[in-house]
């Protein structure tokens, strides 16, 4: 047995970095601010790696109690951190990918105003995210949950002078609040029913009562799911994530692709004991996941902004993870979470490198032909594209096939889920290769861009970088090595990351699955045997549809480049539907936001606030004033009138006492 692991260091070192940069960063030299931010993420990463090597000799779950937080009546909550297999994996992903993205940001943000502010927020995010995954109770998890939402808001609105960025930040925050409301209700139900919020307390009580099925557990699970759909951008609360692309690209990579948005998946996996008792809630998870996965992918195929394509791709991939959770294949979900963190962070960082090299351009229609000009970005991006499309042996192949296989063998609903996932795999391949072809292959379309800008090109919504760099003539150039280094590391991980969980059917041992078994249960681990052929067949079909996607892209964007335009005009209604994202934002605006604003403006502000609350205040004031106006006449300053009142009072007292006033008392 080893002594204390000092888990508290992991979240608090980034917090210290936040304090230093946030409080005095403005006055620090840039190099010093950079060093603070990088060291504040490097230390937790090294600490986590050290713990990883000690992990086999630990008794898990290892709990570190840092003191009592709330102790009132029978309710008790601690500042308690917990380490188990699930937390271990999340810690490695968050600190590892987080550190790489910090390094990348040094290059990407080098010329930005508020450099110190950016790193302060990034460290703050790390603190909350690590608190979220390390917490031992729902309450501390909620602190991290809210905190990452705050950091996300601050970073989306990093370019707060730009109106769209400020609005996107507010949108993300408000939509997340709806989900957090669900989370809170779930916490209240947990307290009411179990009297505690610690994982061990709740889960052991559930384990002791095998008769506890559905009912309140379904309610808790559904409210938790509402929270998860907010944070992880699932239907119906996914609308904030595409707009969140207003933030700087490293933020999109770290928060809105690799770590924060996977918090919902982590939460469902962490509380799977609750979900396992409620088949209804579980099937809701699966249906929401499958629907989101397909829905977002269809939007992704027509977007023209490189980051928006990736944003919808993230929503879609998160849908896969929810789908996996919904068929109780939690370890598959976590496996996909890990590989997704690698390849999606890489996709975003590579996209950032493209944007950087083009001086802030994000519209894919004016890119093209970048393969020769930025070869390293091109090759790393290629690895990521192959990984997300699920071509062997890249990371996405193993994790996505694992999910599809688990869905297929999970009953009759599973077949439908599998089919949706399978079609989405084709769509994924289509939109990713479309991005790849438009960005890197063919000839540069940058000249036609000049013409388009005189037209109705309103897509030049890009980082403020554009403004800075257009001042001097800009030629396409490869990014500096401080940005390319993380790309290369992530490309290696996106290529080989899948070997963490090669299924038995392909001669592997599914290491990650077995590693997670103690936390996530082994229910879904059917022994290989009879299903080997099926699993291989499903994998082959998934690769096949991926190839179909690639082939279609090749025809549309290479062989007959005029065809996409023709298709768009021919199927105009469908194209408009997808291009406008099914008008979901407009529908939400009309059905929810506008009525709420009207109610707020006229009923709450006009009637309740102005009428009732202000009215009561004014009425009280007017009453006091009027009464004062009457009684102030008494204080005339005339001595004889005072004497008269005095005499009158004395006379009244005399009369009252004479006629037996006291007798009544």
């Amino acid at each position: 047995m080893i002594g204390s692991l000092h888990l508290w260091l992991i979240p608090l070192v980034p917090f210290a970095g936040f304090l230093v940069n946030g409080l005095i960063g403005r006055k620090l030299p840039k190099a010093f601010a950079t060093a603070v931010a990088l060291i504040a993420t490097l230390i937790p990463f090294l600490h986590v790696v050290k713990i990883w090597f000690q992990f086999p000799s630990l008794t898990v779950p290892y709990v570190e109690n840092l003191g009592t937080w709330i102790w009132t009546g029978s309710f008790h909550a601690d500042f308690a951190l917990q380490l188990d297999q699930l937390t271990m994996i999340m810690l490695l992903v968050v600190t590892g990918v987080g550190f790489l993205i910090h390094i990348y940001s040094v290059g990407y943000m080098a010329h930005e105003e508020g450099y110190w502010r950016f790193f302060a927020y990034l460290n703050l995010f790390m603190f909350f995210m690590l608190t979220l995954v390390l917490s031992e109770n729902f309450l501390l998890m909620f602190v991290g949950w809210e905190g990452v939402g705050l950091a996300s808001y601050l970073l989306i609105g990093f370019y707060f002078l730009r109106d769209s960025a400020a609005k996107a930040g507010i949108k993300a925050f408000v939509v997340n609040r709806i989900g957090d409301f669900g989370f809170l209700i779930a916490l209240f139900l947990l307290i009411a029913h179990f009297g505690t919020l610690s994982y061990s307390g709740v889960f052991s009580q559930i384990a002791q009562h095998p008769e506890l099925q559905g009912g309140v557990l379904t309610a808790i699970a559904l409210f938790l799911l509402l929270g998860a759909t907010g944070k992880s951008a699932q239907i119906p609360l996914y609308v904030w994530l595409p707009d969140a692309m207003e933030g700087p690209t490293p933020v999109s990579a770290l928060i809105h692709a690799a770590t924060m948005v996977t918090a919902g998946v982590y939460m469902v996996s962490r509380t799977h004991i609750i979900f396992d008792r409620s088949p209804f809630a579980l099937s809701m998870v699966a249906i929401i996941g499958a629907a989101t996965c397909f829905f977002a992918a269809t939007i992704g195929i027509v977007q023209t902004d490189i980051k928006r394509v990736l944003a919808y791709s993230t929503v879609s991939q998160l849908g896969y993870m929810f789908l996996a959770c919904g068929v109780a294949a939690y370890s598959s979900a976590i496996f996909h979470l890990v590989t997704h963190a690698f390849f999606k962070a890489l996709l975003f960082l590579a996209a950032g490198s493209v944007i950087h090299s083009l001086g802030g351009e994000q519209d894919m229609r004016v890119m093209g032909g970048l393969r020769k000009k930025i070869p390293i970005t091109f090759w790393t991006m290629t690895a990521a594209v192959f990984a997300i499309c699920g071509f062997p042996p890249f990371a996405g192949f193993f994790s996505k096939d694992d999910i599809l296989y688990r869905a297929f063998i999970s009953g009759s609903l599973g077949k439908v889920l599998w089919f949706v996932g399978w079609v989405t795999a084709g769509l994924t391949s289509f939109y990713m290769f479309r991005l790849w072809y438009l960005t890197f292959l063919g000839e540069s379309r940058a000249e036609s861009h000049e013409l388009a800008e005189h037209g109705a090109a309103v897509h030049a919504r890009s980082d403020s970088k554009l403004v800075i760099e257009t001042e001097h003539p800009h030629s396409v150039h490869e990014s500096p090595w401080v940005m390319l280094g993380p790309l290369v590391v992530l490309a290696i991980l996106a290529t080989i990351g899948g070997f963490l969980g090669v299924p038995a059917a392909m001669g592997g041992h599914d290491e990650i699955g077995h590693f997670l078994d103690p936390v996530l249960g082994s229910g879904a681990h059917a022994p290989g045997g009879e299903s080997t052929g099926l699993e291989l067949g499903l994998s082959a079909s998934a690769v096949l549809i991926g190839l179909v996607g690639l082939l279609v892209v090749h025809i549309l964007y290479k062989v007959k480049p005029e065809l996409p335009q023709k298709l768009a005009t021919q199927f105009h209604a469908l194209y408009a539907l997808l291009l406008n994202k099914y008008w979901v934002d407009q529908i939400y605006g009309t059905l929810i936001v506008t009525p709420l604003l009207l109610i707020s403006r006229y009923l709450l502000k006009g009637l309740i606030d102005r009428g009732v609350i202000d009215g009561a205040g004014f009425a009280a004031g007017a009453t006091a004033q009027g009464f004062g106006a009457i009684v102030q006449r008494v204080q005339s300053g005339n001595i004889r009138s005072y004497a008269g009142w005095l005499a009158l009072g004395a006379a009244v007292l005399l009369i009252v006492s004479y006629f037996g006033f006291t007798a009544h008392f």
């Binding site: 300053g637 005339n638 001595i639 004889r640 004497a643 008269g644 005499a647």
Partner: protein
Amino acid sequence: MVPTSYYLILSAILFSIGVAAFLIKRNIITVFMSIELMLNAVNLTFVAFANHWHQVSGQIFVFFVMVVAAAEAAVGLAIIIAIFRTRNTLNVDEIDLMKL
């Protein structure tokens, strides 16, 4: 032996005259004198009851009242002189502000 009630009736009459004068008269000196009249009416009540109950405390109270009345007369007359010097009037109805 004069009955105690005679003293009390006389005292009440004197006090009522004092109150009436206080309310009616406008000259501040007269008002001042009516206060003295009320004080002495009370003194009369004190000694009447002291005699009636054969207790000496009533007479002691009278001495207290006399001392206070003397002090009050000294301060009051000083104030009246000050007011007359600044306003050239002794009409209480015209002295209705708490400033000079």
